[in-house]
């Protein structure tokens, strides 16, 4: 059962499609799908791998050293809190800067992986507080540094792409 609104729309359907997207939409799409984009996928995994090696190494050393640091939990806690504050701020600054650009969110999967490792490190720290905590904390700092470096490189790539897109806009290539 159709009413007069439905009949009207059916009869005039093509007149409802009157808008046209700007040319820059295609150039943005092409920037995303062009072959070199996929080849240039960044291999942050080496950072992740390095962090993982550090954890296993840390666990080993921890077992070796035994529990000589068992009463330094408070100190450890303070150390972590301070460093976390410092690095979180640095990371957030970079993320804020990145958020001003339009870019392929897939680039951030590497960051997510580093985040995952960070969580694992933290869990490791809670589980084995004392024994190998120094090594784990060291690995955590390495993880932060890797994340910062990764963000830095994504940012410079995104900025470079942005400039390319802007210069292309005046002479769009089909």
């Amino acid at each position: 059962m159709s009413d007069n609104l439905e009949k009207f729309v059916r009869k005039n359907r093509e007149h409802f499609d009157s808008e046209t997207p700007r040319d820059k939409v295609w150039s943005n799409i092409y920037t995303e799908i062009r072959p070199e984009k996929t080849i240039r996928r960044i291999s942050w995994y080496k950072y992740a791998a390095a962090a993982l090696i550090l954890v296993s190494f840390g666990a080993g050393i921890g077992l070796f050293i035994g529990n000589s640091h068992s009463n330094s939990e408070i100190l450890v806690q303070q150390q972590i809190e301070e460093s976390e504050k410092k690095y979180t701020k640095l990371v957030n600054n970079k993320l804020n800067e990145l958020s001003e650009y339009d870019f392929d969110k897939k680039l951030l999967t590497d960051i997510e992986l580093l985040d995952q490792i960070h969580l694992e490190l933290k869990a490791e720290l809670i589980e084995n507080s004392g024994a190998n905590s120094r090594v784990v904390i060291h690995a955590m700092m390495q993880n932060y540094q890797a994340k910062l470096a990764a963000l830095e490189r994504i940012l410079s790539e995104v900025k470079e792409n942005d400039l390319e897109t802007q210069s292309k806009e005046s002479s769009t290539i089909y």
Binding site: M1, L5, E6, S18, T20, P21, V25, Y30, E32
Partner: protein
């Protein structure tokens, strides 16, 4: 009966990364798809963002397209999903509708209020949930079962939303007409 266009040759060229073919596919469908985005998203900037993301999805998922439907229908679903993701991101979608029994009564809109521009502007004033269902049924031609699948709601919710959306649209059109008469 709609003409069934498969564009097999074009799709295969796109799959092999032929740039010219990729642009041709975009050129074929971008106009219709952009208008879907405009109706769903309201703002031109948002509509262009969604169109861009949707076509990146189209090209990266093209190897999954198996000709079970037309490329147009397949692309349209990707575009609509992108619109919905964007709307959900902005937390604008669907208030829960309680399943009150629905009498499907036709909504009669005074003839002089039926114009493309008036309907377009009236639809833009609807709440996102109403606008989405009205768009999918009235403009995009999906039936209530399909809308239920797309939006992950029940068929009766889709019907209720649609019926209420039409009534609301009617109210908006009448209100607009009255205020313009008053202003004249």
């Amino acid at each position: 009966m709609a003409e069934i266009v498969l564009h097999k040759d074009l799709i295969e060229k796109c799959r092999s990364g032929n740039q010219e073919a990729q642009y041709k596919l975009y050129d074929l469908y971008s106009h219709a798809m952009f208008n879907i985005c405009m109706r769903m998203m309201k703002s031109k900037v948002d509509a262009e963002d969604v169109l861009q993301n949707a076509f990146v999805d189209v090209f990266t998922k093209l190897h999954q397209f198996g000709y079970q439907s037309t490329p147009g229908a397949w692309i349209k679903r990707i575009v609509i999903n992108n619109c919905l993701n964007h709307l959900k991101k902005k937390k604008m979608l669907f208030e829960e509708i309680d399943n009150i029994p629905l009498v499907q009564e036709p909504v009669h809109i005074p003839q002089q209020l039926l114009s493309v521009d008036k309907i377009k502007s009236g639809m833009m004033q609807l709440a996102p949930g109403f606008r989405t269902v009205l768009n999918l049924y009235l403009m995009e031609g999906y039936d209530h079962q399909e809308i239920a699948d797309i939006l992950d709601i029940s068929v009766s919710t889709s019907k209720t939303q649609y019926s209420r959306a039409k009534k609301k649209l009617r109210e908006i059109l009448i209100e607009e007409e009255n205020s313009s008469v008053l202003l004249a």
